[in-house]
Symmetry: D2
């Protein structure tokens, strides 16, 4: 059940990098949700490469084709399926890849897992390209949530070996304008200075035939208090389960997260106060979640993205067929940093986890 | 489905802090697995309070009673159920708790989630006490894994505001003796000096009517390469989903984890070399996992534990019935730090996630 | 995941006939549902043996002990667990049973499935005794449904080789009085003459050291139109999946069911008419279900119960250890017919399937 | 999760009768299973209309396009997805259908369930056309099972108001030739005389602008003893859950099934005897299943198919917008009997349920 997520909203992601097509099916979406397909395509374009000088020069169009589940701009309540045709399929010889695994990629464990039958072309099902159908499902979820007044935004919290920081979202309440601006930026930062420094850091890495990683912060505004569950299906469990489905994500935390381990209880506890008749925690170290349930504060989480494993430098590997050491130079064009393109993916992850939770809480008759 | 985990091995955790009993059912355990019930009780005792001067002085016996699924020291293949009778039930008046929520606890969101019907006594189903049945299931999983040559160990990676560090497990291969010693320590550290400093840090916090948190590192040795799956049911997704089920866990990462975000690709990629005919990555920044699948290196992960929210100091809260601000002093004896007791829980989490994965991969006829 | 049912309401059934206890956990029940524990016990007593002269003379008390999830007569929203202590455990020598499998029982396939480690005493986890915890969960579901105006009733539709028929429920709308009377009868028939003839048929079989089966009809009144789903999670799929979990059930059908195969479309289609502003199908061959979704008519289904496999006559079997033919006489007291005791079980099945469906449709915040 | 089936092998069915496409994704198929796509297409052609004079004269080509998960004639271990483009989409005006529901169809409950947003064109997601992607998944499963020596066959057990019977499969062991012949027949009967009588019965119904139903018997040969589970995930539960996903199926039974209710225990129990060192039940009233687990005998089950609800005669219905009675004549070409076309669908159902069970039992590394 590896490529499926959700309990009330079940998403199945399918495809391989060089297969005829990639896509998803979405089961459990309520009927009557209005969908703006142009807005969906705009969202998909945010993760497409080629928007910014720092990304790979390869261009994909990634046009989503809705196969079913949507009539006259509204969901029908039946499964939605959508595909993206792969234009560039199986042209190359991938024999070397099968034999000499790329460090930091899934080549080696996948070969064992699938007895060598996995599709290695372009990374097969392990390719970052599979985040495109995840974003189709996530983009639809974002629209469904927006109708309930829930808005999700993400940005690069920090990037590169020096951890160049952007302004944290956790401490600001973004208005509609700021949210729109953030999502339309070519480089998803709040602070223009940070964006400039990050761009330089990425170009430096590219010049060195190397790559850099970073941390993405994602916030959901408008989630009412009382949604979620204790133990294994709370908000944290659900977001983390989906977020670790993104290749390159190696850590997920919530609110103060790992930093909370370095606070005392008196600092980390968020004190309650009344504010115009509403319960209003004065800080949000909990990231809007206590006991797996929303507190009414913004849901705040972060994910750590490792540096792109595909680098231009020669690397040490092994020849699995010959059983000896081998050096490897990964050819082709690579993103020296996938963090900017992973920002909308974080929003998709968050939207899918929250919509699933809401549908489980309020039922599939509810939106 | 909040209090259930697993896909091939389904564990249902039930109970409330002051209900007649807490317990678990475990569905999907293969038949014929030998179970040493004394060893299981020893494992449960590791999370019980009162083992070390730094913990709460309250003593629980927490004797697990196996109800079914085990005959003549072997699993029967039918569901295993076990309960722990609660000795100390519903004696107090919890009306204030229902009215004035404790900061950092689930009191407030749970009241909304359950329309006030949730059991507040002792924290109800949100109590850390529910990690006892999790440890029953986890302790059984640890024995099943040990039979397949998989050993799991955890320790306190660092503790307190200064982050007092223990020797990292990631860089050492522990032998059987070291593993036994680590699990029999009162204070689960490798380095005695670190243990001493951590104890002092905890006692300082207690003196200040405050609390501290920390980070736990957990390692699984002996997981063969090729176990796991891409996307949403890989090793990371499974461990994270269960780990966030522990109250107080606010972050989970794997291998270099969040630190990987601060490395360049050339540093973070683990180079492959052959070693006596086997593929042997020379470093383990991946934490033994690429593409959700095991690489054959130890599985390494960390979880951030926030400082205990129950502290002796007066805290700001609100009176939910009166709709006004209110101060709160949490009475009773508290752990100034739950990190040491959470170490066996981390092992339980890891064992349950890995056994579930192995049963899904190799079938329920397989152990 | 064999002994778990439900998607929104997850029930885990555990226990073996001669283990210390049998029981269940119920995850996903909304908070605040009032539970009358005496009414629950009365429901359990309906499946207990010894109520009627036709059943085995062995008496079980089967008192359910609620472990958690209920406070002050209301559900807390956390998992409910309940157990029944087994009083009569592992006293006999079951070696012959392990060696010489009883025809019509699971002894032989279970021995292979569990490599001989399954608990054979009293049938282990395959015992009809496991329907007791199913009835605990079902009895709770019945109360939750009654609060929403949904009432469930079952009776023996026909019994024995001649198929002695009772008045079909499908063609009558029972009022509250009739429902109460049906559930308080010692022998669950509407027609007293039918009950008398069925009793004689059972006693005849007992005299012949033989057994008889029958068909149970179950109806749910008050299910509003529009609940359910097409394909694999509709009302039929859910009821059938749970009903086949009862040992001895070999067939399930809905409305006209198998008889529909012998009708022409013009006879089988239920014509619609308006009745005081409501859509009212004039017949109910569909059993209240079209496309997996309720039509607003009563949900009607039947299950075929095979004759009790435990009979007093000598039967042909094999000695699995010696690898040769062997004759077998099953000792002990047996029910010559379990159909009467299976009537409340059918109601439990129906209640669990419908409550699960309703919670998935309307959410876990909804009752 | 309505249009998904399976636990280890998860199939998602999507599409609507007049949407751009219908299709399925299949998650959990092991890597390295050889797939013959021509054989798959032949299987799909068996359910296509127009093969026999008794079926609708409309012809669909129903060519399956594999999108991913298959490379060089073998499964890759990643999700398989396949679609069939709908050639005939949304041409008609379906306003009347939305207003005046067809008796025996899901039109009325679906309108309520989806608040009128469901796609009514051609029956939308409720159309029998959705059995085409079910057959894609089932056809792949059949090939995977055949490799393990498991062969599945189905035929029309009886048809029409008189229940014209074919030779029962339960009492014969078909050889490879007989299996091939059965699956290549235009009219899936063993007995040519029965086939002829059934054809006449169907043509009679067509002449009367009416329709007939029937019962399909399906057998799986070569399932080894010991596969399955007690309670809710046994062979019966799994097959029934999927079979009731076929529109028009109103009953499912196993082995003697409903007839078992009319036998005495001494007749219904299958006696064991040894046969050349193997345990060989002498009859198969159990349908190869005891306690949810295979006995090593053929798995035998039946499903009742109601007469096609679309008939040419004028029928009583209601106008849901006007709130008054209305007569309805369903236009277009209809199958006067869908039973022959449902035969390969029964095989698909059986194959999917059994392969799912085998993968759960033996793991996803196992084929």
């Amino acid at each position: 059940m590896s490529s499926m997520l959700g309990t009330a909203l079940r998403v199945s992601i399918f495809g391989e990098s060089h297969a005829p097509a990639i896509g998803c099916s979405i089961d459990g979406m309520p009927a009557g949700v209005p969908l703006d397909l142009d807005e969906l395509q705009n969202f998909l374009d945010r993760r497409a490469p080629g928007r910014d000088a720092t990304a790979t020069t390869r261009r994909e169009t990634d046009r989503a084709r809705i196969l079913c589940g949507v009539v006259d701009g509204h969901t029908t309540g039946s499964p939605i399926a959508a595909i993206i045709e792969n234009e560039n399929t199986r042209s190359q010889d991938y024999d070397e890849l099968r034999r000499v695994p790329r460090p930091g990629h899934a080549d080696y464990p996948a070969r064992i897992r699938y007895d060598g039958f996995n599709d290695v072309a372009g990374g097969g099902h392990f390719s970052g390209r599979l985040t495109a159908p995840l974003c189709i499902a996530g983009g639809i979820a974002l629209q469904a949530l927006a109708q309930r007044g829930i808005r999700i935004a993400a940005h690069i919290a920090n990037l590169g070996p020096q951890g160049i920081p952007d302004t944290p979202l956790n401490h600001m309440e973004l208005d509609e304008d700021q949210l729109s601006r953030l999502s339309s930026h070519d480089f998803p930062c709040i602070d223009e200075g940070a964006a400039k420094a990050m761009r330089e850091c990425i170009l430096d890495a590219r010049n060195d035939l190397d790559s850099v990683g970073g941390v993405i912060e994602c916030v959901a505004y408008g989630v009412p208090a009382g949604l979620g569950d204790p133990m294994f299906d709370g908000i944290e469990n659900r977001i983390a389960r989906v977020a670790f489905g993104i290749p390159a994500v190696k850590g997920v935390d919530f609110g103060a997260g790992f930093s909370a381990a370095y606070l005392r209880g008196s600092q980390n506890n968020d004190p309650y106060r009344m504010d115009h008749g509403n319960v209003a925690p004065r800080t949000n170290n909990a990231g809007g979640i206590l006991g797996g349930i929303s507190t009414g504060m913004p849901i705040v989480w972060q994910m750590a993205v490792k540096p792109t494993p595909s680098i231009g430098r020669k690397q040490q590997s092994v020849d699995l067929d010959a059983g000896c050491d081998a050096d490897l130079v990964v050819r082709g064009r690579h993103d020296p940093c996938i963090v900017p393109r992973a920002v909308p993916i974080a929003e998709a992850v968050c939207a899918l986890a929250l919509l699933d939770l809401i549908l489980e809480s309020l039922g599939n008759r509810a939106l």
